[in-house]
């Protein structure tokens, strides 16, 4: 049965990893039932460490485990995994290039009920700014499972942000995934949309709706760092109008990364994302995304803006 929930896909993939590699271990800070690391606990209780609500200790402990040859996967909500333990990630894990894998679950607005304190708008920005860090944002559950595997094979620190909610997959099992390689979801020639996570799904929807009127190229940038700037430049070749879209602040995340990559090119760029503001509570995800313009319509508007301004 097809999994549409990134967290479920992640949890399952982690268990599969654990079966293949006895050095994979998991650490949790009381959110296992949400991050779905609980699946790993069920199958490998001796390799699972409930660290209590103490994220900083959890990250540094993971560093220690990695120095013993383990591959620790650490879990919390994106806002805490990246923010609360930032120094621990930076000082020992990143400087030392340690093999710690950090799962920032319920990222962006996906934890719609809990409000601003639980909705990370800056995790990609701060993780991206750390040298030696790899930053991943899967487009859907299918890509999530491939990423987990790739994370374990990659040598060095990795941060992944996951969506809390289920939605239809747009990528297929047989689509290849490689860290660092952006995926062309749809070709086009009038405007190119670089998007990540659920916003890449919405970008595809926007492109489909504009068929016949505007030719929209859609690129899934699921590796935020390292960003293959040559590939980005190539994907935007011959197209002046660029839109970026992310469930994240427009400061420091995908938009900034794309703008940097295209800085020497003549482009007009429009950024779709959280406009330097915090989230808030809502009774459902769609309502919250709409409130902040993180929608198909928001991307269409951005496309019209950028074509008009070019």
């Amino acid at each position: 049965m097809e999994i549409k929930d990134q967290r479920q896909a992640y949890g399952k993939a982690l268990v599969e990893l654990g079966r293949e590699n006895r050095n994979v271990v998991a650490l949790e800070a009381d959110l296992g039932k949400s991050t779905m690391s609980c699946f790993f606990q069920e199958e490998f209780p001796e390799r699972y460490f409930e660290m209590g609500i103490a994220e900083q200790n959890m990250l540094s402990t993971a560093a220690g485990l990695s120095l013993m040859g383990k591959i620790p996967f650490v879990h919390s909500f994106a806002v805490f995994a990246s923010g609360r333990a930032f120094d621990q990630i930076r000082q020992t894990i990143a400087i030392g290039k340690l093999n710690v894998k950090i799962c920032g679950s319920s990222a962006g607005m996906s934890d719609f009920g809990d409000g601003a304190t639980h909705q990370s708008v800056e995790d990609m920005a701060i993780m991206r700014a750390i040298p030696n860090m790899t930053v991943l944002c899967p487009i859907d559950a299918v890509e999530t499972a491939k990423m987990v595997k790739a994370m374990a094979e990659h040598e060095g620190p990795v941060y992944i942000r996951l969506n809390r909610n289920a939605y239809d997959n747009v990528t297929k099992e047989e689509d290849p995934f490689e860290i660092g390689v952006p995926g062309l979801l749809k070709d086009g020639k009038d405007v190119v949309v670089f998007a990540t996570g659920i916003m890449a799904v919405k970008a595809l929807e926007a492109a489909k709706e504009l068929e016949g009127k505007v030719s929209v190229k859609v690129v899934n940038v699921s590796t935020i760092k390292p960003l293959n700037e040559a590939m980005i430049v190539d994907l935007a070749k011959g197209i002046k109008a660029v839109v970026t879209a992310e469930e994240h602040s427009i400061i420091g995340g995908l938009g900034s990364a794309i703008a940097q990559a295209l800085a020497k090119e003549e482009k007009i760029i429009e950024f779709v994302g959280m406009k330097d503001e915090f989230g808030c509570s809502a009774k459902n995800y769609a309502e919250l995304l709409e409130h902040f313009g993180l929608t198909k319509e928001g991307i269409i508007q951005a496309i019209h803006n950028v074509i008009r301004n070019q």
């Binding site: 220690g64 013993m68 040859g69 120094d87 020992t92 400087i95």
Partner: protein, 274 residues
Amino acid sequence: MSRQELIEKLEKRAKVIRRHVIEMVGVGSAGHIGGSNSSADIITALYFYKMKHDPKNPKMEDRDRFLLSKGHAGILQYAALAESGYFPKEELKNVKKLGSMLQGHPDYLKTPGIEAGTGSLGQGLSIGLGMALGMRLDNIQRKVYVIVGDGEMAEGQIWEAAMAAANFKVDNLVAILDRNRLQATGPIKERFDTNPVIPKWEAFGWHVIEIDGHNMEEIIVALDEADHIKGKPIMIVANTVKGKGISFAENNAAYHNGILTQEAYEQALKELED
């Protein structure tokens, strides 16, 4: 070798290590003299008595591991590593120079023998916990030794690690508290009091041993005692003197990260002569 001979040998070695510290700091440039000298006897006992390690094979699997959680005393560890033979003693004079293998704080990638990067206080005990847990998973019968500072005890993460170590019954984790009673800005009792120390560690479920951190016999007895504690992590509270061994630096917060004049430098080396 008799016990007395062993202790004398270690005391001689500690003096050499203190000399290396002063030589590394040199004249006119700030160095963490105080906090290095207070831990000097402890680190000597660890590297030259207690720990199983091989300077010619720093990554040997079956080794004890040492972490300097109070990473600003890095030059002390460099002295111990050089004396052990992890790298040539000539390297010591290059400490903190551009491109040097010896950085301002312990660097995992640049220096042989450094088990993890430290420098941001309060994190080393957690790293040690992770190593101890990893050893247990692989049935490696060795220990992790972590030196923490009493000023550093203000960091909340120390207490997260303390709770976790007790929860996990990590009896292969031995913490040593360099209790020199001073922090950078002055005496802990006046600046930010982290006392009472012993009741806190006992309340957190650790086996606590209190010693004179400059009595080599007490140090090795405590390290040996730690081998026999089961089911609890061990905290050796070592009462020390910041700047021990150098008259003008002893108990003087100015030498937390202090500068030596040419006179002071020569005076210090004179006091550390054999």
